[in-house]
Amino acid sequence: MTWLARVYVTLKPVVNDPQGLTIRQALADLGFGSVRQVRSGKYFEIQLEAPDRDAAEAQVDAFCRRLLANPVIEDYRFEVEQLSPARA
């Protein structure tokens, strides 16, 4: 069956995020004084085939560890959603 994974890659809290700081400043300049912090990151939508949810999640975790995130500087999280039912 086909699964949709939504993957979020973010800089670790200890890593400085100049893009986030710049965006926060721009929001403040626009008058949005409520903004306390902005952290930038990356978002991926990945469709994949897997027999069940556990298998899909295991695969996506491997995608993240091998390629999508650099463990030195980034954290990741994801959710998977079933797109099509199992074929009878």
Partner: protein, 234 residues
């Protein structure tokens, strides 16, 4: 000695590296396409600067999985010399051949300018022609050169003398103002534990002839060639 200059899709400093090694130094050089896996004819591999794979995902993140990189890892494990310049440094970090990572410059600007590097360790194959504390004038050209490592890794690099180059003033003072990208401890170049894999953000190949405004890059090429001659006397 025989050099290899690796070309990934998007590499842009390959011609400069080849020119300096062949025309200025009269060394044997060949290009290495990123799909090659046999480096057995080479003594030193250069990973040049550029934008391999368009810097997609992260600089170096895709290039590190090119077939040549497994061969480069074996080449390094055999004790042969690997020099990563700019994007090459980023690729070596992504590949785990050097620790840490290169983040977006702290001011978000792409910087193409002269910088001054203080040589911190002259007991490497890449710096043995320098004197301790010597200042080299060499240009940078990058948007992601902000060196980061966790505190333990950083402390180990410092304790073991593996910070080879630091951004400094022309007089050799390491100051925040001399740091062009936010790198921790003004780090511009580091070496692996075994001492045969060096990564640096500045471009010595762009400063190896006086006509270009500086020939200080020659200290690095001289070092590599002297080191190899010492091991394999003619």
């Amino acid at each position: 000695m025989r050099f290899g200059v690796v070309r990934f899709p998007g590499t842009w400093s390959d011609l400069d590296c080849f020119h300096v090694l062949s025309e200025v130094y009269g060394q044997e050089v060949r290009y290495v396409w990123h799909r090659e896996t046999d480096l057995s004819d080479l003594d030193c591999v250069i990973l040049p600067g550029g934008f391999s794979y368009g810097d997609y995902l992260r600089p170096g993140a895709i290039a590190r999985f090119s077939p040549v990189m497994a061969a480069v890892a074996d080449f390094a494990a055999a004790g042969k010399l690997v020099l990563g310049i700019c994007n090459g440094f980023q690729i070596l970090c992504e590949a785990g051949l050097l620790p840490g990572a290169l983040l977006r410059n702290n001011h978000l600007q792409f910087r193409c300018q002269w910088v001054y590097l203080r040589v911190e360790n002259v007991e490497t194959p890449f710096t043995l022609s320098c004197v301790q504390g010597q200042v080299l004038k060499i240009p940078i050209s990058h948007g992601d050169g902000n060196y980061f490592a966790d505190p333990e890794t950083l402390a180990e690099l410092e304790r073991t003398g593996r910070v080879v180059f630091r951004y400094a003033t022309p007089a050799g003072e390491v100051t925040p103002e001399a740091n062009p990208n936010g790198s921790l401890n003004n780090i511009a170049g580091i070496i692996n534990r075994a001492g045969n894999v060096l990564g640096m953000m500045p471009h010595p190949e762009r400063a190896s002839e006086e006509v270009l405004g500086s020939a200080d890059g020659r200290y690095i090429w001289d070092s590599i060639i002297r080191w190899a001659d010492g091991r394999h006397p003619a």
